[in-house]
Symmetry: C2
Subunit: 323 residues, 2 copies
Amino acid sequence: MSRGVVGIGGGIGASRFWRALLRVLDPAELTIVVNTGDDLWLHGLRICPDLDTTLYALSGRQDVERGWGLADESFRCMAALRRLGRDVWFHLGDLDLATHLLRTGLLREGARLSEVTERLAAAMGVEAGVVPMTDDEVTTLVETTDGATLHYEEFLVRHQATPEVARVVHSGADRARPAPGVVTAITEADLVLLAPSNPVASIGPVLAVPGIREALLATDAPVVAVSPIVSRVPITDPGERLRATSRAALLASLGLPPTATAVAAYYGRLCRRFVLDAADSMEGDAVRALGPGVDVVPTLLAGRPPDDVLARTVLAARAAGRA
Amino acid sequence: MSRGVVGIGGGIGASRFWRALLRVLDPAELTIVVNTGDDLWLHGLRICPDLDTTLYALSGRQDVERGWGLADESFRCMAALRRLGRDVWFHLGDLDLATHLLRTGLLREGARLSEVTERLAAAMGVEAGVVPMTDDEVTTLVETTDGATLHYEEFLVRHQATPEVARVVHSGADRARPAPGVVTAITEADLVLLAPSNPVASIGPVLAVPGIREALLATDAPVVAVSPIVSRVPITDPGERLRATSRAALLASLGLPPTATAVAAYYGRLCRRFVLDAADSMEGDAVRALGPGVDVVPTLLAGRPPDDVLARTVLAARAAGRA
């Protein structure tokens, strides 16, 4: 991986950000390290929600309206599975299934997830680098206050993020190694971006892989986080609302409120600059007090015509150079 | 399993026979023991071609025109998989995939194949008993004279049964145990039928599971085989022709010609009666010389209006009673 910009993120929120970024950045300069803590085995298939959302978004195959999955998708297989009496809570489209079949087949043949991802990216014509945080299996588990342990996707999709969360565990993270090239990419980058993703569920697992947090602390590159939270704007989109509920529930399990300042506190000394949405500008001083410099720009990318302000703002940190 | 009729067979040829049989036989009286030697892992999924063909045919879900798979099927997933650069040689329909997802999911959760099959049969409303020959993995491998080893489905579908066959191996059969109830069903049956299936590829694997051949030799029930070969009628259907090519290639590897008499010789003293197609009536004496009694009736079930002659003929052996 050549020197350039490294992005770290999850699925939907991050992908909107990468797309905005790639309007002003050469894809050859961007390497995205993707959360795999949401990955799950389902029906014998390995599903990687965040990797797939990233690949679909970057290849222009995404269903922009729905916000996840592929355009021109159908769900005949899932309907048939339900008719066979199976409890279907995670919806895999007929076209989307091809990604999971290819991935699972290659994994069973002995390929590493990073190799599979590279192959998928090439097949889809994705020019930016897309790398899983690790080739090892890490699973984000949500322990609820009533004693249940749920896979994060189960918590989010099946239970609509309603159970009260006692604790979030990134199972397997302690034994995981960063995927090949990840640490070098961070160390040699001249800008690292933490996407506007769920900090606990999407960025947290990446930071939990031994070596990645250390690389972020060691790199000379500025690390810039974009707030995933805009506290003072009502959310109307149901998917967006669900993700906001989940963010709040997971932050609450850490004793943190669902605010941009809390996200900055969660990242702590990892991040040098923090981008606040204009609506939350009054939190600027609170964030600055935690350490990072603050930029205030419109960050809400959902449903609005793309504008370049956010992308140019984060890239300005690159121009400002290494420490 | 209650006393009744036990059928042993593979996929397409057998299923046509079961359907004809069930026009005159109460499904509660029929237990079908199905070949699993064709089963394969593909894209991480466990595919059981003969079990599925049996279930689809008996539940009325089959695409009768095409002869395999489900009616109203689509192939969007396979088309997407091909666009991702995967070599697709075994076609899994979008609806058919639901069967494989359910099966693979349940197997991964620890269920046995016989349990999964029972659940699928119930979900599809299949009233006859459908049992895999074994819950263990047995794989029919074709060794070609030029040194390749092919899975039987690869030999059949990918290579269109053209390579010269040196040897057929039922890998894993020596360590396999009959699925629960299979031996008892055969022992306590009052009629056992060997379907008009490929003798080497579809009946052979069942006979290779230790205990099943012994049960067939030990049972008091008459064992009646229906010839899968009608030598003197030209085959026009491409699928039928492919299966005939395969039958001939596998029989040739045993030094046998592609004739009904050769099939009777292959079964040897296992079968008490042998049903010849009317077109092959001149082979009657040759078959009788090998031991079994002979019935001569029209056996070709493809593409003709169902008639009850074949079914009534084989069931007559049941009426004739145990030895």
